[in-house]
Amino acid sequence: MTWRQAVVIGITTFLAVIVQVTLLSRLGLPGATPDLVVVTVVAIALAMGPVPGATAGFSAGILIDLAPPADTLLGVNALVYIAVGFITGFVIDPRDRTVPIMIGIVGLATAASTLAVAALDSLMGATRVSWEDMPTMVLTSALYAVAMAPLVIVGMAWVARRVAPDVSVLTG
């Protein structure tokens, strides 16, 4: 991971967090809020690899917990997003970087992160998680993520290639 990558990761996650809290959560869509942050983390991981992915997850998780009106435990989202970023960056094989597979990974990662954040939050006793709504939340967040995925993945890949080309994509 280079410094340029780190700067790109910082700016991208910051923008993703801001767009999510100011735009996406105000669209009033049914079910979960479209989780652009997770999609961005996954896109970074797919474009740059596991370590940038984990870094993006840390950055995005800390920012989403700090951005008003968040009132959650600081660091919980970061832990989950680190795992999401690292694992998605790790499992992706450069040979099958086809769009459908990447979109599928985004959907799975989003569903898993929604579940994991809820589980961790209830484990910490910080927030009240309503488990009856969880299936709907997981499903809708995955669907929204899949819908956003092509644009974000393609955009992120373009940025990674143009701004911060790095060989670590292949080495992991």
């Binding site: 991971m1 910051f14 967090v17 801001i18 767009v19 809290v21 100011t22 735009l23 105000r26 669209l27 009033g28 596991p50 370590v51 984990a54 870094t55 997850g57 840390f58 998780g61 800390i62 920012l63 917990d65 700090l66 951005a67 008003p68 435990l73 600081l74 660091g75 919980v76 970061a78 832990l79 680190i82 690292f86 910490m124 910080a126 080495t171 992991g172």
Partner: protein
């Protein structure tokens, strides 16, 4: 499997996150609160800018969702509005009825009349030139012909016919109606007859030399046995005095207290008071003496001799001597009005 660098980066990130979690678990006043407020300020500033940039989009979606909800909302509000309007209208109506009943009960209570409340259900046609109404109380409620009908303002009329559930009432303004009247305060008596117009009665004084002034209030004098007219009921107010003192007969125009066109709640006096309430039932503004001493009427005394002993002291001699005269003045009424 993982390179050394990867492991280091990963563990640093995880340890940092866990540190944040542990520090933040300590609650609001932990060491992170300062960091959080600074970060919230910076991010909040960025959010404000972003919100301004995105405001067309969010505004549009809000508008869209508002539009989506509006028709349902309008329907719900319209339905609610209709229910509330109907309720409000019935409320005003109920309130008016309650107030009318209250007034009738007030008169009945002050005068000591026993009443049966009733509602006007039909009014005779004006082109008949007779003022009659039908009320929803009849024989089954204990109504009999020649009972007095009142409302909160005063005398309404008398019952002429009854069926099992309705009664027909001749109003005091009917041209066939004649009521024995007494001027409140001066005790002058006379005959109040209907003119056939709803806002005026004519009052013929028996004593042509009597003093009668505009604004004097009239109450019923009372018939024998309280039928057809119970004593002490407000009739109306003198609005015009004709002739001069000393003429053979003096006739005054009287405006009835009741408003014939808005009659709704009335009451039938099923038993007149044992003691003539005199002027006590009159509206407080219309009479100077607020608490006249009850004096037994001749008819009332003859009807219930046992009562005379208790009220004898209050009964002045002139009143007792005038009683037979009043009886004669009062007795012609039923025959006049009945015929």
């Amino acid at each position: 499997m993982l390179s050394r660098r990867t492991r280091i980066v990963l563990s640093v990130l995880v340890v940092a996150s866990l540190t944040f979690v542990i520090l933040d678990l300590r609650g609001g006043q932990g060491p992170l609160s300062g960091v959080r407020s600074v970060a919230a300020n910076v991010l909040g500033f960025a959010e404000r800018i972003a919100a301004t940039v995105f405001s067309p989009v969010t505004g549009a979606t809000e508008w869209w969702s508002t539009m989506r909800d509006q028709s349902a909302q309008i329907q719900a509000l319209t339905a609610e509005n209709e229910v509330l309007r109907a309720e409000a209208e019935t409320f005003a109506n109920d309130r008016a009825r309650v107030m009318a009943l209250d007034e009738v009960l007030g008169i009945a209570g002050v005068g000591g009349y026993r009443i049966v409340p009733a509602e006007v259900i039909a009014v005779g046609p004006a082109q008949d030139f007779s003022w009659t109404i039908t009320i929803d109380a009849g024989k089954s409620d204990g109504i009999e012909p020649d009972m007095t009908v009142i409302n909160g303002q005063g005398l309404v009329g008398r019952v002429v016919k009854t069926t099992s559930n309705t009664s027909t009432v001749v109003l005091v303004v009917d041209s066939s109606s004649a009521v024995g009247g007494r001027v409140a305060g001066t005790e002058e008596i006379g005959i109040v007859s209907g003119t056939g117009r709803q806002d005026s009665l004519s009052f013929q004084l028996l004593d042509p030399a009597a003093d009668l002034r505009v604004g004097d209030a009239l109450v019923t004098f009372g018939s024998k046995g309280g039928r057809p007219y119970a004593p002490g009921l407000p009739i109306g107010e003198v609005i015009e005095v004709g002739g001069t003192p000393g003429q053979l007969t003096r006739v005054a125009t009287v405006r009835p207290f009741i408003d014939v066109s808005t009659l709704s709640i009335v009451a039938v006096v099923t038993r007149p008071p044992r003691v003539d309430p005199r002027d006590s039932v009159l509206p407080r503004t219309g009479i100077s003496d607020p608490s006249p001493s009850p004096v037994p009427l001749g008819s009332g005394a003859s009807e219930d001799p046992g009562d005379t002993g208790t009220t004898d002291g209050a009964s002045p001699v002139p009143s007792a001597s005038a009683a037979p005269e009043r009886e004669t003045a009062a007795t012609p009424e039923p025959s006049e009005s009945g015929g």
